[in-house]
Symmetry: C2
Subunit: 188 residues, 2 copies
Amino acid sequence: MKELIDYISKFGNLNRQQVNFVESMAMRIELRKDEYFSEAGKIPNQVGFIVEGVIRGCYYSNKGEEITRCFIGENNLVADYVNLEANVISAEYLQACTPCKLIVFSKQSWEELSHTIVGWDNIKNKMVQMCMFQKSRKGPVISQNATTRYLEFMKNYPLLTNRVPLAYIASYLGITQQSLSRIRKNIG
Amino acid sequence: MKELIDYISKFGNLNRQQVNFVESMAMRIELRKDEYFSEAGKIPNQVGFIVEGVIRGCYYSNKGEEITRCFIGENNLVADYVNLEANVISAEYLQACTPCKLIVFSKQSWEELSHTIVGWDNIKNKMVQMCMFQKSRKGPVISQNATTRYLEFMKNYPLLTNRVPLAYIASYLGITQQSLSRIRKNIG
DNA sequence: AAAATCATTTATCATTTGGTAAAAACTCTT
DNA sequence: AAGAGTTTTTACCAAATGATAAATGATTTT
């Protein structure tokens, strides 16, 4: 669990006893490629930390197209956090793009951390805000053209480029796979 | 200050004494059209609540184009929050699109609320997360075409459509003003 | 009111991207 | 290795958007 504790420590300090408690609440799981971490139509019930692999958030448009909304890589928290907190049915899937190793907290455990560890809420909020901030920072910029967006994508997610299907990246960038294929060719 | 207190009350309860304290920390100001609430190159030093008017976040691309990144309307908090918290120079301008009436807290006052009101941090974090969530919810969706994005924009920001310059909306939607003008015409 | 400034619309043509279809390349199973 | 299924590339044409320029409209200043 070292990776998780290191991550948390970036946002606040925990003493040994608190570290032990966090670890006792957590569980290691693995996801096969394409398996879901959480699903649309269900109330999210866990918070994860990605030790290895890539998870994507995706949904289906009214035309039935599958659209990737975000990628979440190693050393990041993963959850449909807003709906988890609000106890509301989620509208998106969180799906393993590659085989994943995760550390997860059930919703109940996650809440117990708040009740047990003084200062946890502070750490938690910083982590959640950082996640939201990074998503907006790393996401495709609508005022750039598709080629620029793809170049930025490769900068921001160097590991993903050849690890996930082209179709995922294309819908993330807001273009068709054909267009992305063309762009790849033109870039050389 | 009723508007502000009503807004805060959606995220947690304050007793009369706490309400008085919040009000004593706040200040009413007005911004003329085009005046800045905060500027790129400076460390953000205030948190505002918009009572009347519209503020936009904007920045300049490496080609010198002015790009609108977000619109913030009445009954919302406004701040470059991440950089305010991190005490880091901002990269964007927050500018009044229309004449604005605001209630503002200096950075110092904003922090004093945390120290003085038990439970304030909890309320504050809920407010900040809600702001971030709404921005992502209401923002243009990159996988939709420009016409759809504009239609969605009008749904999400009905009041803005005829209150702010076309160029602001165009760059927000990631298109040129000429394109947006064309789209307006085609919609009828 | 006229002039000046700024915002919006229109027009034309070039470029980018989408839609459809098919071929090629790759993966997985048997 | 063969075959089935999937993913990626290519090709073609249509549609959307960008770039440039100019005209019109609106607002502010003098």
